[in-house]
Amino acid sequence: MSDLLRPPAPRELEISVFGPGFGESVALHVGGGSWILIDSCTHPDLSCPTPIHYLERLGVSVSRAVRLVVATHWHDDHVSGLAGIVDACTSAVFACSSALLKEEFLTLIEAYSAPLLGSDTGVSEFDRVLEVLQRTGRDVKEASVGKALWQQDASWAPDGFPCEIRALAPSDAAVKASRKTLVGFVSDLGQRRRIPAFSKNEAGVVLIVRAGGVSFLLGDDLEETHGGGWSAMFSDTSVPRVESMVFKMPHHGSKTGHCDRVWAELLQPQPYAMTSPLILGRNRIPTRDDVKRISGHTQKAYITASPQARSPRRKRSPSVDKTIKENLPDLREVFCSTGQVRLRMIPDDPASVEVELFEGAIPLSGAWK
């Protein structure tokens, strides 16, 4: 059996970050065979969302073993295939940012669910998620600062370990700012319709996972915004000041997701840090400067694929190829990998940490070499 397909032991804590190049998802083994999935991404060669594919290859029954599914925000690159995950994980509680359970976001869904636009977006994926939840009669848990989303004590999972997952964001201020942004998408009367484009993610769900004696900080895609983002989170006194040893870096390690106070106050020195690249045309995150900045905080950073990765050019007829070279010189297939960064450890034994890199994942220090 390859190392990739070796399931974690019941008392092993695992965090796996998947990042195909445009998208990101996280799978957490929280002991005793219980799994948590955060966001979703897909790969064209796989018949199901990437984290489901991974768990099924490990021999996990996703309908029973996945306890919680979290949607941190609605951007396309974090929700691709999410309805499939919610549908497959029938025992899981679904949680999302409280900003997404407000009238403004639902109006956006209703406005953009018309077949007129005919294109798959984060909004239409969320529409499908809500349909699945309604069809299966499941509740939605609103994630907001300080709220516990999932808890497991030792008696409930005797072969596991105590574990708690709590939201550190969004704050009330961030939700308010997000509602204002969202209403702008649909109340712009007289403007022609278009697919909702990304705005800054100001009301995403940041999570802290506390298991045994360790904690992981999962930074979503949270970016610094005026009045929102990380600074708003720190202004909330209910945010526990726990120093985590593992950090899922926000927004692909970009400077917009960086906050010095996170590294200083919420992380141990030299934490294990992981992320995925955002490869969007010529935009490549993390940049060379991002890598340098992160390397100044930790030497133990990993990424699911190189931000420099490129797909080969698709073969077409000579006549078409020639015109493409002249008019669309950088036309490429969207880069897509099945890269995965996996960290496993025994919660009571920080020395047991094992980091494994699969399918093109690399240490971040090698990202721009």
Binding site: V140, E142, V186, S187, D188, R192, R193, R314, L328, C336
Partner: protein, 186 residues
């Protein structure tokens, strides 16, 4: 050289002359002179091309940029467009002279692609639609003029989705309010 017919082509004059006939094009076909600039079908340098002449005449001048021709092929009498390849696109990012888009191949299917396109390839009448999230159609092929001349290039046409009106907004909000009541949250 015209790669389709293998015959010498000097289309610059007719195209430039034709260009003045059209206003506010709905779709643009952009053709570059790069193939004339560099080599013909046999791979030989074309020393009679405008680019070569310009290069020879002004060695120290700034690098020659082949002109990009734009005209409304749809309004050309007796002209037709032969599409060789088409995509549906969504604008991701708009820069000063270029924009990045995700493209879905509607000819052969397959995984999505990404490309950077020149803003000057967008018809003047569509420029106001060029914003992140806007949808467009991208065609690559030949425009056949009435004299049989073929011009190879791409055309970009933005999808003119109807503007929002107050009733639609209110309808969407009503449906959202009803849905909000159905969602059981804790």
């Amino acid at each position: 050289m015209n790669s389709a017919q293998g015959q010498p082509v000097s289309f610059e004059d007719s195209v430039w002359q034709s260009q003045g006939e059209f206003e506010a094009p709905k779709a643009v076909i952009s053709a570059t002179l790069r193939e004339h600039e560099t080599r013909g079908l046999a791979g030989e340098a074309d020393t009679t091309s405008p680019a070569s002449i310009a290069r020879d005449a002004a060695v120290d001048a700034p690098r020659y940029e082949p002109p990009r021709l734009a005209f409304d092929f749809e309004d050309l009498p007796h002209s037709r467009f032969i599409s060789l390849q088409s995509w549906r696109g969504i604008v991701l990012d708009v820069g000063r002279s270029e924009f990045t888009a995700r493209l879905s191949d509607t000819t052969n299917g397959g995984p999505d692609e990404e490309a950077t396109l020149f803003i000057e390839d967008v018809p003047d009448g569509d420029r106001d639609l060029l914003r992140p999230g806007a949808m467009f159609y991208l065609n690559l092929g030949y425009s056949v003029l009435r004299n049989g001349q073929r011009i190879r290039g791409i055309s970009v046409r933005f999808r003119r989705l109807p503007p929002w009106d107050a009733d639609e907004f209110l309808d969407a909000r009503e449906r959202a309010q009803a849905r909000l009541k159905r969602i059981r949250s804790e």
